[in-house]
Amino acid sequence: MVPSIKAPFHKKLIAGIQSQVRIVRDINEKYATPRIKMTKWVKIALLGIRIYLIVLVVILAYKFVTLVI
């Protein structure tokens, strides 16, 4: 339900946030199932990227911690 133009600001803000949350939920539903066929190579590639990202995040976290300490 879209609030009228005369509605108070906080109501418009809440309605706006709710509508964005709804959109995100719709996107999550729409793309819930990956369309690509999960062959052995696709699984290996996706696992590789996950490991790469985890290693990178650990390295950057280490840098951040050593920088702060």
Binding site: I23, Y31, P34, R35, I36, A45, G48, L53, L56, L60
Partner: protein, 427 residues
């Protein structure tokens, strides 16, 4: 006599065929050239000027090698966009699900926003040489970039941007102004070799920096969305390829001439930015310095327009907003609002007194390597899916080449990221 008439008729026929082909190309030309020229953005020009001042002409051959690499990666986005009629962000959501979709979209927005700040840094530094205060530069750029998209036609926007691409060729007259020895440029630059001193950590850093400027995550997203917005179809793929190839040649030429300028005049000096190079050149050859500054501004502007659009397109695709440059503001308000917000916020950061601009520039490299591997691997996986690509899927040769290139780019850009984060281990 008859033979003469026949020859003239043949010539006339060939001429008309050439004009017709040229007209078709000019209709199709755009995404490939724009993305490749915008690849030489403010960060790219800074890298080339620093490379020239540090190694002279010694690394020109390496830049020539990078041209085909950029072409092979970007050509895949042309096919993917023309066949699926979807941008890269939407394609990732659709093919790999929400986890990878949100990761790519969030990372893209962040890295693009940070890169956009570096474009503004380049543009303000370039115009500061002419005494223009940063706030005025930011305002001028914002007005220019907003006016460019508001006329409501993709075609018009594209042709305006192509004009700015032509301005990028300003490095060619700048190179002639500094009178290099062309025989030395050819003998030192074309044949692959290591500079004096051999393979040092500094050389390694520069090689990686040049690779880092060749392929950026936003380029993959931008060209695919651009191909979709332009309405290219499967039959246009050969033209899209040709366009991308012309763009790759264009970008390498600009990079080479940029290196020739600083390699001739500033060889041996420690150059940290393109603006510093332009200022240094002013004392030696005023016109060359002015050309370098104009080129830097133009590079930042091209980078800014492409990067902000790449984000808006990606967000619009996933959010389901109208997201075409063919839409008027009334038809796609959120798309244009996001474009404006991204630009204004990035421009505002540059104006904050004491903003950590150097840190931001370094951070761009770090964040880019978190997105680049995923974007490139997804590209190859999508291009290998017969259900999605049909007869346009990658051939075995394309797969071998693209896989080798992607592994090469991922490895070196990751090492480059590590050299930025942990410089003490790479001295």
């Amino acid at each position: 006599m008859k033979e003469g008439i026949g020859a003239r008729a043949r010539f006339f026929y060939r001429y008309r065929r050439f004009i017709k082909t040229l007209k078709i190309y000019l209709m199709i030309a755009g995404p490939g050239i724009i993305v490749m020229v915008a690849d030489n953005d403010a960060g790219g020009i800074t890298t080339y000027t620093a490379t020239g001042s540090m190694f002279g002409y010694d690394l020109i051959w390496f830049l020539i090698l990078l041209g085909p690499i950029a072409y092979i990666v970007q050509e895949m986005t042309v096919r993917l966009g023309a066949v699926t009629k979807r941008g890269h962000a939407e394609a990732i959501f659709d093919a790999f699900g929400t986890f990878w979709g949100w990761f790519s979209l969030g990372d893209l927005l962040l890295v693009n926003w940070l890169t956009l700040i570096t474009e503004f840094i380049g543009m303000t530094a370039a115009l500061a040489i002419f005494g223009v205060p940063p706030i005025l530069t930011v305002i001028i750029v914002l007005i220019l970039l907003i006016v460019m998209v508001l006329q409501g036609r993709y075609w018009t926007w594209e042709k305006i941007v192509l004009l700015f691409c032509v301005l990028n060729l300003i490095y060619i007259p700048a190179a002639f102004l500094v009178n290099p020895s062309w025989s030395t440029v050819l003998s030192q630059g074309i044949i692959p070799h290591l500079p004096k001193g051999g393979f040092t950590s500094q050389l390694f850093f520069f090689l990686m920096a040049n690779i880092g400027t060749t392929i950026a995550p936003w380029m993959v997203f931008f060209q695919q969305s651009s191909v979709v917005d332009k309405g290219m179809k499967e039959k246009d793929i050969p033209w899209g390829r040709f366009d991308t190839m012309i763009g790759a040649v264009f970008t390498v030429i600009v990079a080479i001439f940029c290196i020739v300028v600083t390699g001739t005049v500033l060889f041996g000096t420690n150059i940290q930015s393109a603006a510093q190079a332009a200022q240094g050149l002013m004392h030696i050859n005023q016109y060359a310095g002015v050309f370098l500054a104009i080129g830097l501004f133009d590079a930042g502007l091209l980078g800014a327009v492409c990067i902000s659009l790449a984000s808006s397109w990606a967000f619009g695709e996933v959010w389901g907003w109208a997201h075409s440059l063919n839409n008027r503001i009334r038809e796609a308000p959120w798309f244009y609002l996001l474009y404006l917000l991204i630009l204004v916020s990035a421009g505002a950061v540059v104006l904050i007194p004491g903003a950590p601009l150097v840190l931001i520039t370094l951070f761009v490299q770090v964040i880019a390597v978190t997105l680049l591997p995923a974007a490139l691997v997804f590209l190859i996986l999508l291009l290998n899916n017969e259900e999605i690509m049909g007869k346009y899927k990658n051939t075995r040769l394309q797969n071998v080449l693209s896989t080798v290139i992607v592994i090469f780019i991922i490895t070196l850009s990751t090492i480059y990221c590590l050299t930025v984060v942990f410089p003490q281990y790479f001295r």
